[in-house]
């Protein structure tokens, strides 16, 4: 594994196949479970597919917010690691995240955040394999833009809508 590692996202390239959700849940849960996936593809309007996952903000507001020391940084990958024993399901990390990325896992109700699969993210594997390259790995030092990707996916889709549909794009998401 080459460090550092970050998952870059190219929204225009996302087909909406959601194989990232399937690959992620197969890896973490042993079976296909889209809502337990650490990456989820939002589609506020058909054609506007937005993969939503942790951006590994440099200042890690989620970790800052946790009162129970349930979140930490993986020294190998810089991913956010959830200590499921320590997590109390309070949801503070969700509100602290500028993109509301974490979820409470639909099974154990604990914070669910991308752990980069220990350095070989399965979502990226299937996306690249299919030639979409909506999710790819970059091996560059953290930069200040990362956190800007931590954004509500519906807001991202509103922008994409205008780029894709022109003026009509202003009307397709209520």
């Amino acid at each position: 594994m080459v460090k550092p590692i970050w998952i870059s996202r190219d929204y225009d390239a996302c087909s909406g196949c959601r194989r990232c959700e399937l690959a992620c849940s197969i890896h973490h849960e042993g079976w296909m479970w889209p809502e337990a996936s650490r990456v989820r593809v939002f589609m506020p309007f058909p054609g506007l597919e937005v993969p939503h996952l942790c951006s590994q903000c440099q200042d890690y507001p989620c970790i800052e917010s946790c009162k129970f020391d349930a979140l930490s940084i993986d020294p190998d990958t810089d991913a956010v690691i959830v200590d499921r024993e320590a997590c109390t399901s309070c949801g503070l990390c969700i509100t602290a995240c500028p993109g509301t990325v974490p979820t409470l896992h639909p099974g154990d109700n604990k914070a669910n955040i991308c752990d980069l699969c220990g350095g070989e993210p399965k979502c990226v594997e299937v996306c690249v394999e299919a030639g979409y390259n909506a999710l790819t790995i970059v091996h560059e030092e953290p930069n200040i833009h990362r956190k800007l990707y931590s954004r509500n996916p519906v807001d991202t889709a509103r922008d994409l809508a205008v780029k894709m549909f022109g003026e009509k794009g202003l009307e397709v998401i209520e």
Partner: protein
């Protein structure tokens, strides 16, 4: 419960506002699988011997929205809509690509059977192990696009309100109807994702007759557990490898066929099938792609074929029209069949058909039929309220709207091509045959955009004539054996044809076995399960409905137009050979154990465990 099934189905009585959970035995599931097969069986169970007297749009007529055991797990997720077809009087396994299917499975349900009629517009909202009917009065009358936009917002808001602390709620999956379905346009579609549709069968009008505007689901559970998870995951990867190797399909979708099917195979409908050949390079794939495609790789849940491409018009009077490529069928039916060879006009009319809630094949077929009746002097300018012209966008823009809102002649055309022929004949004091010669349908189902005359396409002599789903181009008949593992299988397992072709069938059946645990083989499906489903569908089709009974042999045939010689192109003079049709039809019946009039024999019914049909079939023999 066998693998792949969530294990429960919903039964919704719209008249009584009552929702129940039901299950089906392992035996029934093994025998009918899901989707198209199971829907035909449950339809029969609900209606039984009263089938031939029941109006498909009456409250007692059931509507099925089913997944199958392979749905969402096998690549290419779709939902199957079925019930007694308002156009054929049999059943059609009509499928649409939508995330409704995987959301429903994740919520813990395999499907919904609707009975009765709601006293005001409603939609069904399915959540984890729960379902409720919600008032849809504010959505009634809205076009497809606005319905989707509003529903997306209000359901997401509602789910967030109910459970605000789990993180962001992802958009739900849904199917819905547009004005055409609400106004009971007999061949209206059930729509999804603004431009996807379960078009064949006319189930949009069945939904409309029940005051059911939409079915919406959001689930947070796993996809159903399967019999052999490790093997399933391995086969899932393997299947995607096959799909990802289909480079032309992935690159072009069917969106390059609007030119190719005309210029190459000469089997594309032009001006209501008066011709099937054109060499209009203006209608080539690149002309759509270069100017209009805004997304080149668009897929539905668990699909890497991504044959869909999003098109958008950004300038001019049709600014803001969004549809898929259009796919080949709508390039043909909202393009060449209107005499239109302009990509921009074609995108506009396709988007219009979608948003009005028409089936983009069937509704436009009727519109084309009407304009030919004008060409032949049967309908007049006064009948339309204007002078209809081939190749004129305004003409077809108007007719599609008049049909969807039942205005003027649109009220008659709203009955679908076949019924409209009789109504107009009566109106004009003519014999129905004088009009039926221009009606391109089989068993009331307008024929898909692949002709049989050139014999160069995948459709041939008895493709439609022998099919229990009539003109449905997605489910054509061939020899009563090989065709059993085509759409009869995919519509019952419920996944997409375009994630099936290109994958070895043996692999798919291993996949089916790994999911369900049923001892499935390709031969077993082709010789027992497939024939059981098709024989049941054939029985229901031939039982017919009030005022509509298909005549054996006579109606097991192509539309008259398919026996006229092709007037132009490389296959000029060629036509469908009636002698071959007759001969192959008998062979088809024979293979399936039907008598020489195509009625299933007593022995066949017994062999396929369909003895419950004997009483009704005895009457037809």
């Amino acid at each position: 419960m066998p693998g792949g099934y969530a294990g429960k189905w919903l039964e919704v009585d719209l008249s009584k506002d009552k929702i129940e959970e039901v299950t089906y035995s392992d035996k029934i599931l093994e025998q009918y699988f899901g989707g198209r097969g199971l829907a035909a069986k449950i339809a029969w169970d609900k209606v039984g011997d009263k089938w031939s007297e029941m109006d498909p749009l009456a409250p007692e007529s059931p509507l099925m929205v089913y997944t199958g055991p392979m749905t969402a797990i096998y690549p290419g997720t779709r939902i199957c809509v079925s019930g007694k077809s308002p156009v054929s009087m049999g059943t059609v396994g009509s499928t649409a690509a939508t995330e409704l299917a995987n959301e429903m499975k994740s919520a813990g349900y395999d499907g919904v059977t609707f009975m009765g009629k709601a006293d005001k517009p409603v939609y069904l909202l399915i959540t984890d192990n729960s379902a409720e009917l919600v008032d849809a009065s504010h959505l009634w009358g809205l076009d497809g696009e606005k319905t989707l936009i509003k529903l997306n917002k209000e359901v997401t808001d509602e789910l967030t309100k109910r459970k605000p602390n789990v993180g962001l709620w992802k958009d739900p999956g849904m199917i819905y109807i547009g004005p055409a379905g609400e106004n009971l346009i007999r061949n209206a579609a059930v729509l999804a994702k603004i431009c996807h549709a379960a078009g064949y069968g006319g189930y949009g009008s069945l939904m409309g007759s029940k005051n059911l505007k939409a079915v919406v689901a959001k689930g947070r559970g796993t996809l159903p557990v399967v019999d052999a998870p490790e093997a399933t995951i391995l086969l899932w990867k393997k299947t995607h490898e096959h799909l990802m190797a289909r480079s032309a399909m992935r690159r072009q979708g069917t969106g390059y066929a609007g030119y190719a099917v005309g210029a190459d195979t000469s089997s594309e409908p032009i001006r209501n099938w008066q011709e099937e050949w054109h060499d209009e390079k203006s209608f080539g794939g690149p002309m759509f792609e270069t100017r209009f495609w805004v997304k080149k790789k668009w897929a539905d849940f668990n699909c890497t074929t991504n044959c869909m491409k999003v098109s958008c018009i950004k300038t001019g009077p049709w600014k803001g029209d969004i549809t898929d490529m259009p796919d080949y069928e709508l390039q043909a039916y909202c393009g060449t069949n209107f005499g239109i060879f302009d990509p921009e006009a074609n995108i506009h009319l396709s988007a219009l058909a979608d948003q009005l809630g028409h089936s983009g094949i069937n509704g436009p077929n009727t519109a084309g039929f009407a304009v030919e009746l004008h060409q032949r002097g049967i309908l007049s300018d006064e009948d339309f309220g204007f002078k209809p012209k081939w190749g004129d966008v305004e003409t077809f823009d108007k007719i599609l709207r008049m049909m969807a809102y039942r205005e003027g002649i649109g009220d008659v055309l709203a009955e679908g091509t076949y019924k409209a022929a009789f109504l107009i004949a009566k109106m004009k004091g003519k014999k129905p045959e004088e009009l039926l010669k221009y009606a391109v349908h089989v068993k009331g189902i307008e024929v898909g955009a692949h002709g049989t005359r050139s014999d160069a396409d995948y459709t041939h002599d008895i493709s439609y004539a022998a099919s229990v789903q009539g003109g449905d181009h997605t489910s054509v008949a061939s020899d009563g054996y090989n065709d059993m593992s085509g759409a009869v299988f995919t519509d019952s397992a419920v996944f997409c044809n375009f994630t099936y072709y290109g994958v070895p069938q043996s692999l798919v059946f291993d996949f089916a076995k790994a999911i369900t645990g049923f001892p499935m083989t390709l031969h077993g499906w082709r010789s027992v399960t497939g024939p059981r489903i098709v024989t049941l569908q054939k029985a229901l089709l031939m039982m017919g409905g009030p005022g509509l009974k298909w005549e054996p042999i006579k109606d097991d045939d192509n539309p008259p137009r398919f026996y006229e010689p092709l007037p132009s192109g490389p296959y000029k003079g060629k036509t469908t050979d009636k002698a071959v049709v007759d001969q192959k039809l008998q062979a088809y019946f024979d293979t399936l154990g039907w008598d020489n009039r195509g009625i299933p024999t007593k022995e066949t019914l017994k062999k396929l465990d369909l003895a419950f049909l004997e009483k009704s079939m005895a009457k037809l023999r």
